[in-house]
Point group: C2
Chain length 426, copies 2
């Protein structure tokens, strides 16, 4: 019987689930690939902590060399997370001719191209399906099923923590702080949730999705990234009254030969498929010139769903080993993209403003809107407190350049404060 030995680095939630799935589904994998896959060595920092979880016959060690120097180990799964020392470890592994499977989005978004080059030089596979949207097989689908189509837009809910928080705010009328606290209690948010709630995690995923969709390398610094921390319950309720649900969306669009990508709160019409994605689930919508709108939905995180994506990579590498076709990039679509002009990025916007409750304020606002060439579609004014009023607006289409002008002009008026400006999906 042919057996392929696997090394595992990290034994947290995902690592444990990978170990479990490889054991439980060995027969099916063998049926499909003709190979028996078995974990030989697991590397963790603290071996004592994990000893009980390791099956008989599997070596548990804190010494990476036990994998690097073992010629029997062909595939190594990295699920320790973080950019360092994961980057150095994966580099070492590839240089030792090991095929690598990782779930590490931070690393792939920031150093994916560099690592892909090292993999190619060593004729090794480097795969990372689990790095975007845990249980949704979106990367391989883009590679295999949109190869001959032009992707026009990829957008979606790619962070489970923020979607859980927004779902609770909407359903239970909780404040952001209440919902975050609950998410932390249930393990859906980390004790330091910044990476998730500030939109950084979603932005990493949009970098990877954009690369697969357009063959282009975006940098996190080039993207506008806004989180959910400033969304108030009033915004959620007002959006609902207008017929929308607020979601944290990553949007990446081809506009006039360039690629525009952004992460931020967006008002999604309640009958839009993305509005129905609740709790910790994720969904990615891919619009192709030929195929039209498609949507891929599933659990965004969790041990077993993420492990399933890791295993789909392991099976792909195994097939490549059998067919002797390793060393081809996971995604080999490469294309240059120009910059996108802020005048060409056009959406309706939801604006919420606080203004001093004295005569002439609405006139001032209207004058500013007229001056920048924008106009209102819906408008609601309510009392905020004794001194001030709250005004929420849905605008007609306006460009990002116009929005920029609007912000600047309102900045100069000390009786009006712009609290939030979110895109509105049609």
């Amino acid at each position: 019987m042919n057996t392929i030995k696997i090394g595992l680095i990290g034994l947290g939630t995902v690592g444990g689930s990978v170990l479990q799935m490889l054991t439980e589904n060995q027969d099916k994998v063998q049926n499909i690939t003709g190979q028996r896959l078995s974990v030989k060595t697991i590397v963790v920092r603290d071996t004592e902590k994990h000893q009980a979880a390791v099956p008989e016959g599997v070596t548990l060690t804190s010494d990476l060399d036990a994998i690097i120097n073992d010629p029997e180990i062909k595939i190594v799964v990295e699920v320790m997370g973080g950019v360092h020392p994961a980057k150095e470890i994966i580099t070492q592994l590839l240089n030792a001719k090991k095929h690598v499977v990782t779930a590490n989005k931070d690393l792939i978004a920031s150093a994916g191209e560099e690592l892909a080059n090292i993999a190619r030089e060593n004729h090794c596979d480097l795969m990372y399906e689990a790095s975007v949207a845990g249980g949704i097989p979106i990367l391989r689908t883009i590679v295999n099923s949109f190869a001959a189509d032009q992707i026009l837009e990829v957008k979606g809910i790619v962070n489970g923590t923020t979607n859980y928080i927004l779902t609770q705010m909407q359903r239970k009328n909780w404040s952001y702080d209440q919902a975050l606290k609950k998410a932390q209690e249930l393990g859906f948010a980390e004790s330091d949730p910044t990476n998730d709630v500030a939109g950084i995690d979603a932005a990493y995923k949009m970098v990877i999705l954009s690369q697969f969709s357009y063959g282009t390398h975006l940098k996190l610094d080039d993207m506008s990234v806004e989180g959910i921390q400033t969304i108030s319950l009033k915004d959620v309720e007002q959006a609902d009254a207008f017929g929308y649900t607020i979601k944290l969306l990553g949007i990446s669009r081809r506009i006039n030969g360039g690629v525009f990508a952004e992460v931020g709160p967006v008002l999604v019409p309640t009958d839009h498929p993305l509005a129905t994605i609740n709790n910790e689930n994720n969904a990615v919508m891919v619009t192709g010139q030929a195929v039209g709108e498609t949507l891929f939905y599933g659990p965004g995180a969790g041990g077993l769903p993420t492990a399933n994506s890791v295993l789909s990579d392991i099976v792909s590498v195994t097939k490549n080993i059998v067919l002797e076709t390793t060393g081809n990039a996971f995604n080999n679509y490469q294309s240059e993209s120009g910059n996108v002009d802020a005048n060409d990025v056009i959406y309706p916007y939801y604006l919420s403003l606080k203004m001093l409750d004295i005569p002439g304020q609405m006139l001032k606002l209207t004058q500013v809107m007229t001056q920048i060439g924008a106009s209102f579609s819906q408008i609601v004014q309510t009392k905020n407190d004794d001194q001030s009023a709250r005004v929420v607006i849905i605008t007609h289409d306006m460009s990002k350049a116009q929005l920029h002008d609007l912000k600047e002009q309102l900045e100069a008026i000390d009786t009006i404060t712009l609290l939030s400006a979110y895109k509105v999906l049609k």
Copy 2:
């Protein structure tokens, strides 16, 4: 430059779109595969009818030998449809060492295994992503991304015509006949719509999906297949009042080591993702033991979406030609499945009945239900006409065996007629 020449059999809506996409996206495909793909020869029955649609340099002929005997043509796309003579033609093509891509679900559902064997013997690829759910890349996703998971259930809306009709009945309060007529006018239904409205087309697709999900070969004859022809507007309205939408679903489930598959109208809760799939769109929901619930949504038919699936196959074959790895089955998961006991197939049911409006009828019905061990969850009685009443019921969980008994016992009571019995999704 490396060029791979392609033959095309059939130049209807899909064929024309394949030709268009191969021309328009040549550069991207070349970027990914390193190969230039070009259509060399097109075979149609009536060359005169299609002459205008054929670009310069492409041969249009009615002679299949122009493809069979041309050693330059490596990949042939069959989009003529129907089982015969498509089966004989594909057999000839494979024996002439041509790789074949087809969108022909009738053929694959009925003779897929036989053709896959001929392909293997000739070391040729045979791919058919477009045969299920047009624009949704569901087959390749199951092969690649659920390889190491146990699929527990695959269900969905896999026929666009019937979903269009049901959407119109629900939204516009049209009768089945009105909605069918409109669908025919718009080209969503054929002049003889039997194959679609009787559920046969959906059943073919469930045969293929079951094979990919469980590695098992179902026969159409072993499946219970019910269409939408007998759904009345009253059923649609009553389902809506109960909080459900009626959809034609294919359901294929692993039950106690066997595979249960069925096509028929099902009441889907209005907040269930499948209830939100409207018009001619399709959606397939795959539940994996590890990954949980995932959903894949997109256009179910149409020239370009279907052509996109055909092109994903062509690109896969091209990669295999380059890597010299052709001749591996599209799906090589094989597994035996036992039969499923009708006592183990359990759902709540929606029953609609006509009963004579004379005393004692509801008692009779209740006695039958008690006798078979089933019970009511919701019940509504309305006046049907002067002589009869209409009773609709949602039952608690009951088995297919109990449903069978119920039907038999009601058959024997001439004052009560069972009009419909549809499964209810939870």
